[in-house]
């Protein structure tokens, strides 16, 4: 049976040189990141700009309006300055997830390092913009008002840890969903191959995991969209703290 985690292995395609004794290589992960960016660019730039949109243009406009609607709802008008960030993150994650569902491709977002990098971009944006905009008032985020003074240190410590745990849960959620989904599909696919090798009865039995694999692929497509949406909406929720830390 095929190794279910083999699909996440990183292969070197060519080397770019050495930095501090560490090889910097162009890997299959880098390749698929470039493919994702290229696909997003093709979608957003390649369409026509007609008044009555074609299907292709409609796809680009829908994704734009989807993100705008989401941001207007959770951040309001003044949050629109973050639109480039949220839209880039959303489209990159969505494209990476959807491309990952296609067989024989590499799923970029099933690697923790990628999702951590994305989550840290959001985390540092919130931190730096909050400090820049509100100065030390930003730390009022951790000190809820109306709490008795004797439990205030405890509450503040919990709030700080809660704030620091955001990039962890933000990144692990996307990573774990993609990893789990891809492994599940691969395991059921392995059952099909193993049962199919057992002759006619086995081939008959193999229809069950085959149906399961088909259903799981559809579910994975849904999860791909859902997780991109969740990642973007959480980005908006966190950015909201940078715009309006506690009063």
């Amino acid at each position: 049976m095929a190794d279910p985690v083999e699909q996440f292995e990183i292969h070197k395609i060519f080397s770019l040189g050495h930095v501090g004794g560490q090889e910097i290589a162009f890997t299959n992960s880098s390749l698929f990141m470039f493919i994702c960016v290229g696909a997003v660019a093709l979608l957003m730039l390649g369409g026509s700009t007609r008044l009555v949109p074609t299907r292709y243009q409609s796809m680009a406009e829908l994704s734009y309006e989807f993100v705008v609607g989401m941001m207007k709802e959770s951040l309001g008008e003044e949050g629109m300055k973050f639109f480039p960030l949220v839209f880039s993150i959303f489209m990159f994650v969505l494209m990476a997830n959807v491309i990952g569902v296609i067989p024989f491709t590499f799923s970029v977002t099933s690697h923790l390092i990628v999702t951590v990098a994305l989550a840290l971009i959001v985390f540092l944006t919130v931190l730096l913009y909050g400090l820049y905009k509100h100065g030390f008032k930003f730390f009022k985020l951790f000190v809820p008002s109306g709490v008795p003074i004797y439990i205030l240190p405890l509450i503040t410590a919990i709030e700080v840890i809660s704030f620091l745990s955001r990039p962890v849960s933000h990144s692990v959620r996307l990573f774990a969903n993609m990893l789990a989904g891809h492994i599940t599909i691969k395991v059921f696919g392995g059952f099909v191959a193993a049962l199919g090798a057992l002759g006619a009865t086995g081939a008959l039995g193999a229809t069950l995991p085959f149906a399961m694999t088909t259903a799981l692929s559809a579910l994975e497509l849904l999860v791909a969209f859902l997780q991109a949406y969740v990642f973007a909406i959480l980005t908006c929720i966190y950015l909201n703290d940078a715009l309006h830390p506690g009063h």
Binding site: P144, G146, I161, L164, S165, A176, G246, H247
Partner: protein, 153 residues
């Protein structure tokens, strides 16, 4: 859009059968009305009737628009619920990752605290428990049970 407009006209003038013919006919009368008004003074009764009809048209248009907006809002919120509840597994993973993140970050802070100040094992114990509390707060917040710190004010 064309269908929507003809639909509005259809409700306004229910007597006529063929919507298209009737719309063009009405447009014709409107233009002739305007022309005759320009050429000579019309009796005020005619003018009053016209303005009353315009008023009625405006009222019905705003009513239809309100209805349509309401429907759109409803379908929006329904879509939002559907995507939010689409996958129970995603929800479970979300909540568990919140809890684990809190505990992990608490433990990491405690471990670093101990290493820097060599207070082992007290930093780890205290921050592990604080991390657990933070994880529970995270879960309650993302499940919508507890309010966000901003709303609590």
């Amino acid at each position: 859009m064309v269908r929507a407009v003809s639909g509005v006209f259809g409700t306004l003038f229910p007597r006529s059968r063929d919507v298209k013919d009737r719309v063009s006919a009405q447009a014709g009368t409107f233009t002739t009305d305007a022309k005759t008004m320009d050429e000579k003074d019309k009796p005020s009764a005619d003018e009053a009737a016209l303005s009353a009809r315009l008023h009625r048209l405006g009222d019905r248009l705003s009513e239809t628009r309100k209805d349509r907006k309401f429907q759109a809002d409803q379908s929006d919120s329904r879509d939002g619920n559907a995507s939010a509840n689409a996958s129970a597994m995603a929800r479970g993973l979300r909540l568990s990752s919140e809890l684990i993140a809190g505990v992990l970050v608490g433990a990491a802070i405690g471990w670093g605290f101990d290493r820097l100040l060599s207070t082992s094992p007290w930093g780890l114990i205290v921050f592990f428990l604080l991390g657990f509390a933070a994880g529970v707060v995270n879960v309650m917040r993302s499940a919508g049970v507890a309010s966000k710190p901003i709303d609590r004010l």
